[in-house]
Subunit: 254 residues, 2 copies
């Protein structure tokens, strides 16, 4: 089995190393990841300029390609160019911090996995619900490996990627695994208004996440209650249930 590993925290992130430790037990791992942190780049891709990359070694531990690009670039390049064999599975992560609710839209980690789905490759995004520097990724990596191995050939998941979020708990305290929807978790954003040394005004995005969704089927809420949350994610953004009404409404538009 040929596995492509990537992330958005950059090739030297501990979450990626944890994925490598687990997934190299079940297949050959090719690592193609951004050379620097790419958080919140969403589904950006690079085509107005070229992509440079270099082979790099992480702590004598694994070798991979560090790409001056986005997570979605890494998946395209890895699947189309850098792998000599067909990639069977793409795993993105492990992100430091959950990717739930509206954050799914902004997440480079999730977009990398979605890109794999677009390319027709089974995939999964994995995030740990902790932003601590010393967070322990080993439990999340083990769950991700078992889940990927199990789900990657399910016909009903063809074209779908799985967005997996793991509570930052010891394995025995995790209460189970839940199929969830992307919840309505929002960001309550503010911008700090600041002045630079030359008296120009600039703004810096601040703010906090709010959790309106007290519902086990919502990703953030399941996670908060100690479950691993697994959300099936698609790249067709059409809101189908208004299509008919929209068509009727547009009938007399001229």
């Amino acid at each position: 089995m040929n596995i492509l590993l990537t992330n958005d925290d950059g090739i030297h992130a501990r979450g990626l190393a944890a994925l490598y430790d687990e997934f190299s037990r079940i297949g050959r791992c090719l690592i193609v990841a951004p050379e620097t942190e790419q958080s919140a780049v969403g589904h950006a891709i690079t085509f107005t300029k070229p992509l440079t990359m270099r082979k790099t070694m992480h702590n004598g531990h694994y070798t991979g390609y560090a790409v001056a690009g986005t997570p979605a670039d890494c998946v395209k390049l890895g699947v189309r160019i850098l792998s000599e064999e067909t990639i069977d599975l793409v795993v993105s992560g492990i992100n430091r911090g959950a990717n739930v609710g509206i954050n799914v839209i902004y997440s480079g980690t999730v977009s990398a996995a979605t890109e794999a789905a677009i390319l027709g490759v089974p995939s999964m995004a994995v995030s740990l619900d902790s932003r601590k520097e010393e967070a322990d990724f080993t439990v999340a990596a083990r769950i991700a490996r078992r889940l990927a191995f199990r789900m990657m050939e399910r016909p009903f998941l063809k074209g779908v990627t799985l967005n997996v979020n793991v509570p930052a708990l010891p394995e025995e305290e995790i209460r189970g695994i839940a199929a969830t929807r992307q919840g309505a978790t929002q960001l309550l954003e503010t911008y700090d208004r600041r002045t630079d040394p030359r008296d120009n005004i600039y703004y810096w995005l601040a703010g906090e996440t709010i959790l309106p969704d007290e519902d086990d089927e919502a990703d953030a809420w399941a996670l908060k209650k100690g479950f691993v949350s697994v959300t099936p994610i698609q790249y067709d953004l059409t809101r189908y249930n208004v299509l008919k009404q929209l068509a009727e409404d547009l009938r007399d538009f001229s």
Copy 2:
């Protein structure tokens, strides 16, 4: 009516000027747009560094804020900070080139409109199916203005943004307006492999769009046949129709 205009081609793009000409007839327009081209940035937002901006004038024509950030940043800043009054409508575009099929995922133009929907503001992304430098945006701008005015208060479109693509045709040759889904148009991508002056290998994304969807309900196909395509777009990425099966499948996972 307070209208925020933005785009991903940058504040000096002709497509934005065309929007301004039309929408300033029906409301006060605030322009907040990237200072440079931001194509294919998807739903990237900026929070690891601050956002700088400057007030700028376009050809003595309109004044706006040029932001060193992404289209989604522009919408957040415009709605939350830079407008003194509540924004009633966000229009993004007019993009030079269609945003249909899989391109919807990568598009900064569409992501700006989606960001408005996330913030609870009615919105629309507008693209012209021409990449020519001298393309005529006036027909598309006029259609966008009439369509926005009509649709912005429709209750069934609450939380939904409209992705509008206009054929590059004289008005009398446009065959009508169609409610469409995001089609299965794919990119057949290749990477040019090149060598830099210091003998390093680099890659440059190339490739072409393919149109597998011969179906009037698909955005690209309607557009190709001379219709204005209007796709309702949502930001909940959950693939609901597999949730139940996924839950069953995960029941014995441990």
